[in-house]
């Protein structure tokens, strides 16, 4: 058996019977909730920052590759490799270069997210109907105007879908961020992996965060793409 299981336990198991029986103890959770607050916010920051940076990079790449098709393959291959490398390995591969901390975690998380967003933005743009583009050009829109006023708005549903996938997976990966020294809810899970109340609370908060962010993006999507509702209603 690995020495792992004899970790420092974060609670006192002496007094409370629920706790010493290792059950699910709402009282304990209530009393100790503040130990999850900071990790939660670290988790939020990690996720949001990583997805935001990843989005900016991947979106720009997609817009460039949209007009210069020869770039699509190389970018896909590179972001694909970054996507495949497990984050936990990435944290340590980056360690000698960026050290322990927030930066390492963020770089690894950004790397993961690039392919998802790149592919979705590109697909969204590719799905704009040809006749819509033809009509736009024929009316006198320049390439740039066509991109920002027609193609990107029409690609939004696909882009947002990619964002949602990116956000939920990043929340999941960020639970491992503590390996890179960046804190997060995973640190709490890891601190006492045997104690049910702890695991459920920390894990539950992570799942809740993922659901929350997913829902928030969905809401934003509904708000900024009113025409999709009209189409569905017909």
């Amino acid at each position: 058996m690995s020495p792992l299981l004899a970790q420092v336990q974060i609670h006192e198991r002496t007094e409370d019977t629920c706790v010493s029986d290792n059950g699910f103890c709402p009282d304990w959770i209530g009393d100790n909730f503040d130990r999850y607050v900071d990790p939660f916010f670290q988790h939020v920051v990690l996720t949001v920052v990583a997805v935001a940076i990843g989005f900016l990079i991947a979106f720009s790449l997609a817009v460039v590759a949209y007009r210069r098709r020869w770039l699509v393959n190389p970018i896909t291959q590179i972001t694909g490799v970054l996507y495949t490398i497990p984050s936990i390995a990435a944290f340590f591969l980056l360690l000698p270069i960026t050290g322990r901390g927030f930066v390492t975690a963020t770089v690894a998380l950004v790397a993961y997210v690039l392919l998802i967003i790149f592919r979705n933005v590109l697909t969204g743009l590719d799905n704009v109907p040809d006749e819509t583009k033809d009509a736009g050009r024929g009316m006198g829109l320049t390439d740039r105007q066509l991109l920002w006023r027609v193609e990107v708005p029409l690609a939004l549903p696909e882009i947002m879908a990619g964002l949602r996938i990116a956000v939920t997976t990043t929340v999941g990966l960020a639970t491992l961020a503590f390996f890179a020294g960046a804190g997060g809810l995973g640190e709490q899970i890891f601190a006492d992996i045997n104690f049910k109340s702890n695991v459920v609370t920390a894990g539950g908060l992570a799942v809740a965060l993922a659901a929350l962010l997913d829902g928030a993006i969905l809401l934003v999507q509904r708000l900024i793409t009113p025409w999709t509702r009209a189409a569905a209603a017909r």
């Binding site: 058996m1 690995s2 020495p3 792992l4 299981l5 290792n22 699509v72 896909t76 694909g80 490799v81 996507y83 495949t84 490398i85 497990p86 984050s87 936990i88 390995a89 944290f91 340590f92 591969l93 360690l95 000698p96 392919l115 998802i116 592919r119 979705n120 697909t123 590719d126 549903p157 696909e158 879908a161 990619g162 949602r164 996938i165 939920t168 997976t169 929340v171 999941g172 990966l173 960020a174 639970t175 491992l176 390996f179 995973g186 899970i189 890891f190 992996i193 045997n194 104690f195 049910k196 702890n198 695991v199 459920v200 920390a202 894990g203 992570a206 799942v207 993922a210 659901a211 997913d214």
Partner: protein, 248 residues
């Protein structure tokens, strides 16, 4: 840079553990860890496929349970692997079997969703003419829907496989000693050991992806490849399907 050389060195030559006592590192140690890693992953994947593919085929063929099949991935994505493993450790206990259970649960959603979607996106006209020719339901599945859905099914298998290989890295938390051991128990193996393990895990994941990718290409019926274009490029890097695509 030195760190990387040290790590490579660690893979090939055993050292004395910084914690004192045993020898760590070297090819046989690494191989032991790797094979445990692979065994865990392979067993989990096999069980997950055996469960998810038939279910996905059936749901896809009959058109039932779409909501479940498609949202399985969305839900699965929201649960962090660490949380899943911790949950199992806390409630069920440690050990190879328990951990396999957790990994199977992790692996099922992408396979299920992709199998379902793969079957649903087979051209309805093709299925129709198959039925018209007198094929029974099972024959339609076996001879028409399954072959045409294979690329997507394999896409799902790829996603899951890479996830499982990645998650097997934290298996030591549940008492199964895989390549993640040097990462989690860094005191025993030292920093070089940890980096070495990270390199090996990364390699393992990439190899899994590449090999399964080749298999996916191999099982894609030639006719589909020629249809080519966008849809084919999509399969080139197996990514989670988003809800909208799956709903056609």
């Amino acid at each position: 840079m030195n760190d990387f050389f040290d790590a490579i060195e660690f893979i090939f030559h055993a050292h004395e553990s910084p914690a004192g006592g045993a020898q760590v590192g070297g090819l046989s140690n690494m191989w032991e860890l790797t094979s445990e890693h692979l065994e865990l992953s392979a067993v989990s994947m096999a069980i997950a496929c055996a469960l998810a593919i038939p279910l996905g085929l059936w749901l896809g063929h009959t058109g039932r349970g779409g909501f479940l099949a498609i949202n399985a991935s969305n839900v699965g994505r929201a649960v962090p692997s660490l949380a899943l493993i911790a949950f199992f450790v806390a409630y069920i206990g440690v050990g190879f079997t328990n951990l396999t259970l957790a990994l199977v649960l992790l692996a099922i959603p992408p396979i299920l969703t992709n199998t379902y979607t793969g079957v649903r996106q087979v051209d309805r006209d093709t299925v129709d003419s198959a039925r018209g020719m007198g094929m029974t339901g099972a024959q339609v599945v076996r001879r028409v829907e399954l072959p045409l859905a294979l690329p997507l099914i394999f896409g799902g298998v790829r996603i899951s496989a890479v996830n499982v290989v990645a998650t097997a890295t934290i298996a030591p938390l549940a008492g199964v000693v895989t390549l993640g051991d040097p990462i989690i128990n860094v005191n025993t193996y030292g920093d070089e050991g940890r980096l070495a393990a990270a390199i090996l895990v990364a390699l393992l994941a990439v190899i899994t992806e590449v090999v399964l990718g080749a298999v996916q290409r191999a099982v894609t019926p030639r006719g589909l490849k020629l249809e080519g274009g966008r849809r084919w490029r999509r399969l080139a890097f197996a990514l989670p399907n988003d809800r909208r695509e799956a709903s056609t």
